[in-house]
């Protein structure tokens, strides 16, 4: 008895959940200074009995590290799940929010709201900017590559959208008369989770939850779609409606995620491929596990960032690209006959 796919299906869930908990635990341990976590948490739970140092440790844990780890889980989940959805919807294994330009366009939207001062107007302005940016990019992808489009069309459309979005990010930052422009261009294009607060998490989380909930509920359609659009229609799905739902949900969740983290590459592309064989190549089943996988991968990336550079501020997107880039090359190598 080797590992049959059924065996793996049973094993994969507990394994992923254990990894998720483990990496979360490791991630909150790491930072520029050593914090005895047990003491800090007991201080927090006993609502303030302890030394002043404990108070500072509790604050570091609750206001700096917890938001960072929570965001890694949430953003990773969104990117993984959105990647699986886009790959299912476009029936194209190279579709991922980063590669087709959704994340960069979302970053552009967030940049515009932040740097032109609109972010302070209403609490949801920043995620809304990201969502609008993401919506525009998804529309562009459909216009340029279409649902029936070839892999090559999709990739080229993605290259173009990415190039335009990243240059507009740089342009917007220069126009905003901002002495930190260079620094912040790097932030938005490479992504980072550091120095975020629980308020930031609270602002974007609702949009992520709604978006992800819609995506997860569309699993049956994606399964049907894998048999072809006609079959899906015969099975009673309204393709236009379903597509609109998925596209809006991707834009909503990814837009909100990117507005807080910048564009973190390759998670959405890589993760679904890792799990596809383990769920019998069923796009519907792939959604949830890809989300969890995304969380685990992003936590791992953040752990690497904390370990490699304490003060050098290595951006998270650098690590995900270091892993994702070679994976992408390998995929192209494997698919080179199909692409032509």
């Amino acid at each position: 008895m080797g590992f049959t796919s059924a065996n793996i299906q049973y094993l994969i869930w507990p394994a992923m959940l254990i990894l998720l908990a483990l990496f979360f635990f490791i991630d909150i341990q790491l930072g520029p200074i050593a914090v005895p976590l047990g003491q800090a948490i007991s201080y927090g739970l006993s609502s303030g009995s302890g030394t002043e140092t404990d108070a500072v440790h509790w604050l570091i844990f609750s206001e700096i590290r917890l938001p960072r780890a929570l965001l890694a889980v949430l953003v990773g989940f969104v990117l993984g799940c959105a990647g699986a959805s886009l790959q299912g919807l476009l029936r194209n294994p190279l579709a991922g929010p980063g590669l087709v330009g959704v994340t960069n366009c979302a970053a552009l939207g967030a940049v515009c709201t932040l740097y032109f001062g609109w972010a302070g107007l209403v609490w949801f302005a920043l995620p809304l900017g990201g969502i609008i940016g993401a919506c525009i990019s998804v529309l562009l992808i459909f216009l340029l590559a279409g649902r029936q489009g070839s892999v090559l069309n999709l990739i080229l459309a993605g290259v173009a959208i990415n190039a335009v979005a990243s240059s507009f990010i740089a342009l917007a930052l220069n126009f905003s008369d901002n002495p930190y422009a260079m620094n912040e261009i790097v932030y938005w294009l490479l992504g980072s989770l550091s120095n975020r607060s629980l308020n930031d998490v609270a602002i974007v989380a609702p949009f992520m939850f709604v978006g992800v909930a819609i995506l997860l509920s569309r699993g049956a359609y994606l399964d049907a779609l894998s048999l072809g659009e006609d079959t899906a229609q015969t099975l009673g799905f309204n393709p236009v409606l379903e597509r609109t739902f998925i596209v809006l949900a991707v834009a909503m969740s990814v837009g909100a995620a990117v507005s807080i983290s910048g564009s973190i590459g390759f998670i959405g592309l890589v993760v679904p491929h890792l799990f596809r064989p383990m769920v019998d190549y069923q796009p519907g089943k792939l959604l949830l596990i890809s989300g969890v996988g995304g969380s685990v991968l992003l936590l791992l990336a953040d752990i690497c960032v904390q370990l490699i550079s304490v003060n050098q501020e290595l951006k998270l997107g650098v690590v995900t690209s270091l892993v994702g880039g070679p994976f992408f090359l390998w995929m192209i190598y494997r698919m080179r006959n199909e692409i032509q």
Binding site: V56, L59, I60, G120, N183, N199
Partner: protein, 296 residues
């Protein structure tokens, strides 16, 4: 009305009559004072203090920006350039001063055009302020003015640091100060900022952590230091950036209950130079204020 007109006419006529002579006189006078241009914000500050306005043919583009340039009001009416040879060529400077970290290609290009480009070393401590002042005064032929300025600065420095001789017994436990700007940017050992903090009677918390030079201090590190005084660089614009939003992080606003937060305008800090003495005086006042409040 007519009186004004008459006056204006007289002035105009006088000017026209005197023009050939005055330009001659100016030419004679510039024998010792050079026509000088600066392509660096920090060199700008020295020139605006030392040189006659009519002898400054160009300043850097930041010289008139009050966010960065302490003497921005004096830059009004002087041509501003980005340090490009094309812009400087028609202004015919006899000497160009540049900073240590200016684009070396620009400097090479200007030198290739035959310009005399002098690179001003970085000011890394208070002693170098007067040394640099003397050096530039000599370069542009304003030694007397330079000497007067240096005497004045030395008097102020002596006044602000007189405590160093008096209360050496206090050295046992000095209050800790940390400079904190957008993105957590701070200044540690080997910078003039660090020098000024120590001269005012504080310890620099970033230096105590082993940091050197300019760099970023993470929120976590700042919380662990729990400085007595947090010195923010006051900058009124550019609120709409990640870098500034960083300073409103709840951990920063809630995590330093015993810290006194003070502001020193960013344009005073920007360059090591004569304005550094102003910073020293600010810091000294903050120190005295802290001593009063801290030992209640």
């Amino acid at each position: 009305m007519s009186v004004f007109n008459l006056k204006q006419v007289i002035v105009l006529i006088t000017c026209l009559l005197c023009f050939p002579f005055s330009s001659l006189a100016a030419a004679k006078k510039t024998d010792d004072a050079l026509k000088v241009a600066s392509i660096n914000l920090c060199a700008d500050q020295f020139l605006m203090l030392l040189a006659d306005k009519k002898n400054i043919v160009a300043l850097s583009d930041l010289a008139a920006d009050k966010e960065y340039s302490y003497l921005w009001q004096r830059a009004v009416g002087i041509p501003l350039t980005h340090g490009d040879a094309e812009q400087l060529l028609p202004l015919k400077p006899e000497l160009i001063v540049a900073g240590r970290y200016d684009d070396i290609h620009k400097v090479h290009l200007l030198r290739a055009f035959g310009y005399n480009v002098e690179i001003i070393p970085l000011v890394e401590n208070l002693a170098q302020v007067t040394a640099t002042l003397e050096h530039i005064a000599m370069l542009i032929g304003e030694e007397d003015k330079g000497l007067a300025l240096i005497q004045d600065l030395n008097k102020r420095i002596q006044l602000a640091t007189s405590h160093l001789q008096n209360d050496s017994s206090n050295a046992a436990k000095k209050p800790v100060a940390v400079i904190y700007a957008a993105n957590g940017f701070t200044h540690a050992a080997g910078t003039i900022h660090d020098d000024l903090i120590r001269l005012a009677g504080f310890e620099n918390g970033a230096t105590q952590l082993g940091m050197t030079g300019h760099g970023n201090l993470s929120l976590e590190q700042l919380l662990m230091i729990q400085p007595d005084v947090l010195i923010m660089e006051d900058s009124s614009n550019n609120k709409n950036s990640n870098a500034q939003v960083f300073l409103q992080h709840p951990a920063l606003t809630r995590g330093l209950p015993n810290t006194q937060v003070v502001n020193i305008p960013a344009n005073l800090w920007m360059c090591g130079g004569p304005s550094s003495v102003d910073v020293l005086e600010h810091l000294r006042l903050i120190y005295q204020d802290f001593q009063v409040k801290g030992h209640k």
